[in-house]
Symmetry: C2
Subunit: 395 residues, 2 copies
């Protein structure tokens, strides 16, 4: 079956999560991704557990559909190999701290001379410019700086982080779409370009409703447990055996919820809860009234009644419950494939179900240096030369 | 200046956040996005405050760079207009509940007959298939079902939601890249295709590290305040006047932190904190020891010392602090442009800084029906016909 990016070649010098997530998705969609890992130990995520036969599962989950080579680019011979590769590529992506590529001789100005059509994407914590550009920036720093942490947690509680490395993912996702847009430009003009993106900016760009509240009314969004910013009741509640979500997002749903779910029709006429504004203003009382009812029965009891009443609801799953839910399984969000060390391994599936060019697993994540010889052979390096590079600790 | 998607035409029947975020980014990158709003009141987000001159700021923030028409597609004449538009488009995107497009006569099978090159993207809460496909699914339901909420919050506390509508954004971001990939396929083959994606799947696909822990070791990630899953200390701490983040992500940084920041060199040799494993195992004690020191001085005092020592750190900003930070401003993450009712308004900037085809604001979000006549004129509708459509409450 055809894949959308089957003519795209990517040279990937990124590691850990943001960049590798980007290039994994490009690989899922058909790109030839050559992951260049540093000599001697490779991607830093290789030391993140858990392990199977000494291979990192964390590495495996973020690096399928790539070929891997190991390369010492601090040596001239290694740098030369990288430059040879760049000449053959559409996309180059790196996540060194700003300024490092210049020292290594692989900055955009240098590489565009070799390949004017190159799309060169830099991912960093804070971006290539601005007063913090030289700071070391990781996901949680970005969560702190963007305001995201301050909006997450219990009301008046400590700031807590988002359950996943959300700014890493944000940068990876932003890299995907900007690289694809640049590739579309290249397809019609032959021109490459430089893309500078940061963890901080990428996550901040997602605060759409929060920016509306601030720019429009000077209102600062703050953590509020699981409650919605403007609609009530629209949040999690404890039950006898867990937590569920109730989304009575408008007046009609609120009335259905009172009448058909918790069977407290009098609440509809309760002056504290007459309209959404009043329910918001008296949120703590509202929470207590609803909680007192829901706590008396199991989650499943309420989820069934909510479904019957047509009130949006959901279990609040632990992560293992999520991955084993029949709906999520039916959507192929858990897939299996073979790994040379891991055997039959499980992995997350493809979120976009594309009818003509679906995501595919063509290969598992590479072992360190697994494709070095194969890739060098494609560059017409002789076996003898490859042997010498090995002996000189270049590959 | 050229834009990457300047030849792409998008017909957008989505509303609220996931779809509009996608089409806003396509518009930022140059696509001609025609937002088709339902008759008579338009996008549901138009009733979300705050307001400026009765125009919703929330709507404005998610809909720049689109032209807007109002259309009653439940009437044959209105449907006809939509079908005429579809014939001219590259992309069609909708977020009705699964099955509704078929009833409306605008499902993929129907539209592909008119335009075989059409890329048709459906966004829904749970996807077009599977046991929950017919349920109403909003962002928070997806956060509950995917396990994301259970991984967010205080250790052993209530699940809390992510600060932003993260699954809505996830679906929007996934829509962007899958539409661009499908467009790349179309550019080389002329073929369109169908894309089915859901809020749940799109966010779940981001749980990379968590899936590694689960698939690799059966370990279920759970909420843990602001603390890192495997590295310590790597989290938020209270200071005299706020909270800061400290990311002593490896042994060297931990030792620097003890020696140069909190000046407690003896902690390096404390048997409870010798290695990362021991620091993780004794996390509560570690937190207490560090907190007791940090609480004695202001955030700025510690941030300066952390910077000097080269230990990654960050303030934990409230959202207004974030938007007014000099670095974030220097990255043009807050931009200004004119809106016919709002005057000079502020908005979030473009996270990807593309050198050749940068994001641009060419127009503010449309007023309801602002471009109806302009778009119909492009379809060669006469003024007379347009007047009749108005009288018949079609537009």
């Amino acid at each position: 079956m055809q894949q959308a990016l089957q003519n795209m070649k990517v040279i990937d010098l990124t590691q850990v999560l943001a960049g590798p997530y980007c290039t994994m998705v490009l690989g899922d969609l058909g790109a030839d991704v050559i992951k260049v890992e540093k000599y001697p130990h490779g991607d830093d995520s290789r030391i993140m557990g858990p392990y199977v036969e000494e291979e990192s599962y964390s590495y495996m989950m973020a690096n399928r559909n790539k070929r891997g080579i190991r390369l010492n680019i601090k040596e001239e011979a290694g740098l030369g190999i990288l430059l040879d590769l760049v000449k053959t590529a559409d996309v180059f992506i790196e996540n060194f701290r700003p300024g490092v590529t210049k020292k290594l001789g692989i900055d955009y100005e240098t590489l565009r001379q070799l390949n004017p059509g190159l799309i060169y994407c830099s991912i960093s914590g804070y971006g290539q410019t601005g007063p913090y550009s030289q700071k070391g920036g990781y996901d949680i720093m970005a969560q702190g700086l963007s305001g995201l942490m301050s909006m997450t947690g219990e009301k008046n509680g400590r700031p807590v982080k988002n359950g996943i490395a959300i700014h890493d993912i944000a940068a990876g996702m932003t890299a995907i779409y900007s690289i694809l847009a640049a590739y579309i430009h290249k397809l019609s003009t032959g021109e490459g370009q430089y893309i500078d993106l940061s963890l901080v900016d990428s996550g901040l760009a997602w605060t759409v409703w929060e920016s509306a509240a601030y720019f429009g009314a000077g209102e600062v969004s703050r953590a509020n447990g699981s409650a919605h910013r403007v609609t009530a009741p629209y949040q999690g509640f404890p039950t006898k055996n867990g937590h569920i979500l109730v989304g009575a997002g408008n007046q009609k749903l609120w009335e259905k919820f009172c009448r058909d779910v918790i069977e407290r029709e009098e609440l509809i006429h309760d002056p504290r809860f007459l309209t959404n504004s009043e329910r918001q203003a008296n949120l703590e009382e509202l929470e207590q009234v609803i909680q007192d009812v829901l706590i008396q029965e199991d989650s499943q009891h309420w989820l069934t009644k909510l479904d019957e009443a047509g009130v949006p609801s959901s279990p609040i799953y632990s992560y293992d419950e999520a991955l084993n839910d029949p709906h999520i399984r039916s959507r192929d969000m858990v897939i299996e494939y073979d790994h040379p060390l891991g055997g039959r391994i499980e992995s997350l599936g493809f979120p976009a179900k594309m009818s003509k060019t679906p995501g595919q697993v063509k290969r598992p994540a590479p072992l360190l240096g697994q494709h070095t010889k194969e890739v060098l052979a494609e560059l017409q390096y002789s076996e003898e030369k490859i042997r010498a590079l090995e002996e000189n600790k270049i590959i």
